[in-house]
């Protein structure tokens, strides 16, 4: 069986300083992989390396099944500049189509159709002409998901998609992602602080801690020491800076 993404002994970091060391894991079509771990364990570095925003220091990332690096749909964390950015929902979603277009300057009919389909899929047709900056956090995430789906239908990489959302919207967001995974066959890689959500929805877990990695199915993960350490530590350290989306175990 061929993998969509296979990481072999990957070392990645900034300016020669390795943050991720000797990491191996793989992603198959249809997987729902959650990457969890402490701050500073290299989750964002790994993600940027997967996206091709940085090159690996050592080791390799192999894309299989006809996947190209630029065919990863990406849901980034929101930036400060976007808070007052004047743009309609449709303008933002359409921009997801640009990656494929090379130097061709304008959107085609097919691009616009794809954009409207994805807007419908995520249930935001009624706000398609509203301004992005006036939407709620949950609505903005849906818009960015629709944009990512315009870029690809194969694989989505989500960077903390529920951070800063209230519990109800968080649950909605998880349902949407799960539905995309089950019904549309979109492979999901999600970087998350929310361990409970990761365990409930993910099929595979990559746990990152400086120097120690775990990669396996969610069930395997539950029986590891690393998980027990993490879930007890959760009580002290992560509940206070999150928005209550996490139950204490």
């Amino acid at each position: 069986m061929s993998y969509l993404i296979e990481c072999k002994n990957l070392t990645a970091g900034y300016e020669g300083m390795p943050v991720v060391k000797d990491l191996s894991f793989n992603v198959s079509a249809g997987d729902y992989l959650c990457i969890v771990g402490e701050n500073g364990s290299g989750k964002s570095t790994l993600m940027k390396t997967l996206l091709g925003l940085r090159s690996p220091l050592c080791g390799e990332i192999i894309f299989g099944d006809g996947l190209k690096q630029t065919e990863i749909g990406y849901l980034p964390q929101q930036t400060a500049a976007q808070k007052d950015f004047p743009a309609t929902v449709r303008e933002v979603v359409l921009s997801g189509c640009l990656g494929r277009k090379g130097f061709s300057p304008f959107y085609s009919k097919a691009d616009k159709k794809l954009c409207d389909d994805n807007i419908e899929l995520l249930g935001i047709t009624h706000i398609a002409h509203r301004s992005y900056r006036n939407l709620s956090g949950g609505q903005q995430q849906r818009v960015l998901l629709a944009r990512a789906l315009c870029a690809t239908r194969k694989l989505l990489l989500l960077d903390e998609p529920v951070s800063g959302l209230d519990p109800m919207v968080t649950a909605e967001m998880y349902e949407i992602i799960s539905k995309l995974n089950r019904e549309q066959g979109v492979t999901i890689i999600m970087v998350s602080h929310d361990l409970q959500g990761a365990l409930r929805y993910g099929t595979k877990i990559l746990h990152m801690e400086s120097g120690a990695y775990f990669f396996g199915t969610t069930a395997e993960y539950r029986s590891t020491d690393i998980f027990h350490a993490m879930s007890t530590c959760d009580c002290h350290c992560t509940c206070d800076h999150h928005t209550g989306s996490k139950e204490v175990r």
């Binding site: 921009s95 300057p105 900056r133």
Partner: protein, 271 residues
């Protein structure tokens, strides 16, 4: 005002100024949203240094300053993205150094009137030779902007997403810098090194008071900018001794205040 066109320099200033206003307004939307507002200011000071040296050496002003300012734009972008010296500090360094060098050169060669015209612009600065080059530059900026409009939007809104999905964001950032450099060099003769950056910043901010989509903000900026320029030149023509660049900036300020008020009233009405 038919007699206004009897003066060749006025007509030239009107044509070049309108084109520059248009270009600056279009690019300004992206620059303001990318938090690069000060780049215009930095580049115009570099332009001043280049102009001063060119006139001291009796060289054609535009032919010297265009390449110099383009190089400065590349350096500024490179420094901002590499992050050793932060973008705003890099701009301050470059602009004050260029200003200082320019001031020394001017003091050794020309009179104080020239200094004044470099700093605050002169409506008589555009010669017939400059006119042709200015028009060519402006047309290049306009055509490139229209062709790359969608990419400029994507790179402005979310650079990482664009890069990850295969948009060559480095190329488009470079294009934005190049076009900005061209616009500034062409415009700073009329507007002056100290005032040209307002053409970039004001129209975008003014439009954002009212409009909510990128397209409408862009179109409105273009219109606001041109209207402000015409008002500014009219003030200069009808009021004695009003400097052109300053009048245009004041017209822009007026527009900004009007739009702010309108935006405030609109929001109030919606609530």
């Amino acid at each position: 005002m038919p007699e206004i066109f009897q003066y060749g320099f006025l007509l030239r200033a009107l044509v070049v100024g309108l084109l520059v206003s248009l270009c600056a307004a279009l690019l300004g939307v992206s620059l303001v949203l990318k938090r690069f507002s000060m780049i215009g200011d930095g580049l115009s000071h570099v332009g001043f240094g280049a102009l001063a040296i060119a006139s001291a050496l009796n060289l054609a002003p535009l032919q010297v300053s265009i390449p110099v300012v383009i190089v400065a734009a590349f350096i500024l972008l490179r420094i901002s993205s590499n992050g050793k010296i932060k973008g705003d500090a890099a701009i301050a360094l470059l602009s004050s150094s260029a200003l200082a060098i320019g001031a020394i050169v001017v003091s050794q060669t020309n009179s104080a009137t020239d200094m004044n015209s470099y700093m605050f612009g002169s409506i008589m600065a555009i010669s017939n030779d400059d006119l042709a080059l200015s028009i060519i530059c402006s047309v290049i900026v306009l055509v490139m902007f229209v062709l790359f409009y969608n990419k400029i939007f994507a790179v402005t809104f979310d650079e990482n997403f664009s890069k990850a999905t295969g948009v060559k964001s480095g190329v488009y950032n470079t294009i934005i810098a190049l076009l900005t450099a061209l616009t500034i060099v062409v415009g700073m003769r009329i507007m002056g090194a100290l005032l040209i950056s307002s053409l970039i910043i004001f129209p975008a901010l003014t439009s954002m008071r009212i409009f909510r989509s990128f397209r409408s903000v862009t179109i409105c900026s273009a219109i606001v900018s041109c209207v402000s320029y015409i008002i500014g030149i009219a003030i200069t023509y009808y009021a004695d001794n009003f400097p052109a660049g300053a009048s245009v900036v004041v017209a822009n300020l007026g527009m900004f205040l009007i739009f702010s008020l309108l935006g405030f009233l609109l929001r109030k009405k919606q609530q």
